[in-house]
Amino acid sequence: MHVPDGFLDAPTSVGTAVLAAACVAGSLRRARHELDDKAAPLAGLVAVFVFAAQLLNFPVGAGTSGHLIGAALAAVLVGPATATLCLTVVLAVQALLFADGGISALGTNILLMGVVAVWVGWGAFRLALAVLPRRRWSVPLAAGTGAFASVPVAALAFVALYAVGGVAPIPIGALAVAMGGWHLVIGLGEALITFLAVSSILAARPDLVHGARGHLPALELRVPEAAR
């Protein structure tokens, strides 16, 4: 849902840019608590994986496609603040190098996909995790739930921005129905990819999954005899 230049008026674009900058600044400070020795290499991997996965459009019918946003996936794997930084780097490179998403709309896109989608995805993930049984498979299931929620909510956040500063006079209700409807379907793809990706990392190294910490028992078990 990369917003191009010209959809939102200048004041709204400036407003979202300022808000996005404040959120990124906050994430820079907060991310230090998330980035320990194990999380840092994974954060780099998450950023490049999200970039690659965003290239893979899947058809959702009627000449429309969707692709992973990766906000919930990043939040579950490396924590929400680091996820915002990952998405910000991806969106900036896409706008500056690949002309995908407007330059004046970069703040809007970071706010929608790097902040709203991240925190909705993270919140829904935590909520689902609290409800689901304390088992290992609950983690990817909750991640898929967070991913599913993040897409239509980010789409509706765009609708809200358009209601405030949209350039064309269009019925907002119709926009909400169209954006919400299509992105519910795209959210299913987002949920599936997120479920599979989190499952893979969890199978190899459950201790690397930020969202699983505190959920799975005895993560850091060190037996001195086993080392020698």
């Binding site: 991310a31 994986f49 290239l55 780097v89 490179v93 330059i103 350039v167 169209a178 459950p206 690397l208």
Partner: protein, 134 residues
């Protein structure tokens, strides 16, 4: 601390746990394959927002991006005719640039706290965190 001292029935991570380096290497390989090869087979239909904008008639206000003249605009390498090669190279270039920027950012982020805090302190989190984790 109240941490359990005995292994549960299913010790997580197991005795043969994959190293972080291996996880990142395999992940990077998958990522390069997705960006360089699989991306060619992605749907060419416009995604989510564009068809909605066209349907409601507000797509006409979109302006061409200021970077539309970039040699990598539209995920194609300019002057490379073959679509498969052009798209694949652009995808790999994007992965490398995102990786480089992210690596630089992570290096800066991870260096700062150690210079701010006591340099002789161990690299474990220094002091109690003031903001509660969500």
């Amino acid at each position: 601390m109240s941490a359990p001292t005995r292994p549960g029935p299913e010790p997580l991570g197991g005795p043969r746990r994959t190293s972080t380096r291996m996880v990142v290497l395999v992940g990077l390989l998958v990522t390069l394959l997705l960006a360089g090869v699989v991306s060619f087979y992605a749907s060419s239909h416009p995604d989510g927002l564009s068809p909605v904008a066209a349907g409601l008639g507000f797509d006409t206000t979109a302006r061409e991006s200021a970077t539309a003249g970039s040699p990598l605009a539209g995920y194609r390498v300019a002057d490379v005719g073959d679509a498969r090669l052009s798209g694949g190279l652009a995808g790999i270039a994007g992965v490398l640039v995102v990786g480089a920027v992210m690596a630089g950012l992570l290096l800066v982020l991870r260096r700062r706290p150690r210079t701010a805090a006591d340099p002789t302190a161990p690299s474990s989190p220094s002091g109690p965190s003031t903001d509660p984790d969500a």
